[in-house]
């Protein structure tokens, strides 16, 4: 009888397909990952154990922090169409006309902190200059000239007109921010009957309670 010959198998596997898949996935994740936008007002958010993620759309953020000018408040909207509609409403109320180009440029600005009068100047700036510390002094939010209130009001109006949905609000404060400043923002929101909003926090591991 013929001897049973063990066929010598090659010790290696063909990795070409695996490599293909791996790189396909890699490309997918790189492309879907959104690059972190530079923030004009960087803040150190306090950590908490809550696990709720911030929504990606239908959200407006009020950032309270300190830059080299002093205390300042910034406002940002997540949806581009709401940004456009809000700017138009805001311009109407102040009698400022924005060109189409300016509106288009504004829809790319994630967060800003200038009085309405300085908005045109801000839009004209380049992206890199805009996010330099100290360029944007913050939105006036005191009782004499409360532009923040108007921004909040018009963004809500825009959201209801466009999406038929109430805009959600989040307060993003610096951990070292004193409470009265935060309270001021909460009061501005509450004056417009926004009683439910979120506080933006970082992640901290959940402690064991038992």
């Amino acid at each position: 009888m013929a001897k049973l010959k063990m066929s010598k198998k090659a010790a290696s596997i063909d990795m070409t397909a695996m490599c293909d898949v791996a790189f396909l996935l890699l490309t997918f994740f790189i492309l879907t990952a959104t690059a972190k936008q530079p923030e004009p007002l960087p803040v150190q958010t306090p950590a908490s154990t809550v696990q709720t993620k911030l929504p990606e759309t239908g959200l407006a953020t009020v950032t309270v922090g300190k830059n080299n000018v002093g205390q300042s408040v910034f406002f940002g909207m997540k949806d581009r169409d709401i940004r456009v509609a809000t700017l138009e409403l805001m311009g109407e109320s102040r009698g400022i006309k924005f060109t189409e180009q300016e509106v288009a440029q504004f829809s790319l600005i994630e967060e800003f902190g200038v009085p309405v009068s300085g908005l045109k100047q801000l839009i004209a700036m380049s992206n890199a200059n805009r996010n330099k510390s100290g360029v944007q002094p913050g939105i006036p939010s005191d009782s004499l000239n409360n532009e923040l209130k108007d921004w909040i009001m018009y963004s809500r109006k825009a959201s209801i007109e466009l999406k038929d949905k109430e805009l959600d609000f989040a307060i993003k404060g610096d951990a070292k921010q004193q409470y009265p400043q935060i309270k001021k923002i909460m009061d501005i929101l509450q004056d417009q009957k926004i009683n439910n909003f979120s506080l933006v926090t970082g992640l901290r591991a959940k402690p064991k309670t038992n």
């Binding site: 090659a10 010790a11 290696s12 596997i13 990795m15 070409t16 695996m18 490599c19 791996a22 790189f23 996935l25 890699l26 994740f29 790189i30 879907t32 990952a33 959104t34 972190k36 958010t45 306090p46 950590a47 908490s48 154990t49 809550v50 696990q51 709720t52 993620k53 911030l54 309270v64 989040a170 993003k172 404060g173 610096d174 951990a175 070292k176 921010q177 004193q178 409470y179 009265p180 400043q181 935060i182 309270k183 909460m186 509450q190 004056d191 009957k193 009683n195 439910n196 909003f197 979120s198 506080l199 933006v200 926090t201 970082g202 992640l203 901290r204 959940k206 402690p207 309670t209």
Partner: protein
Amino acid sequence: MAELNTGDSGGGKGGKVRSKKQNSKVDLTAMVDLAFLLITFFMLTTTLSKPQSMPLGLPAKDDKETKIPPVKTDQRRTVTVILGGGDQIKWFHGLLATPEPNGAPKTTDYGKNGIRKILLDRVASIPLVMGDKEKGLIVIIKPTKKSTYKNLVDILDEMAICKVPTYAIVNDFTPEENKLAEELNK
């Protein structure tokens, strides 16, 4: 490791000079390793870097027309927490003038051995004292002007960790409470 022996080992027949057959396979192991490492990195960073949010509901500010009569709560259920500067907390259980046993105003701090211990004790004990499961602890949070945003988030976090059934942020201070707050902020 990952090479195929493309039989080129035979003792060459004859004197013909054969051009050496180049091994056409490339070792892909390292490349695949690297690709998967990067995939893992991008997968984790896309989901983990999103900021967390803490939902907060505040009671509606009472208008002049719809004045809600103040709700009387049992003093045995309320713990008042005054947030001061320098990460300090002053707390008392019950009324300030007539505190519950072990509830006289004391100074403590945030975290595991501070306010959490106090709250956890009371979350467990108050329903027993009241004889009703529904009547749990009520925490009244009073942030002073010296307290920071971090303090507020920390105390709200403690509420979530200790599972305090009812809590509220109150900004009014009685004169006695003001005195306590001043003591804390000295």
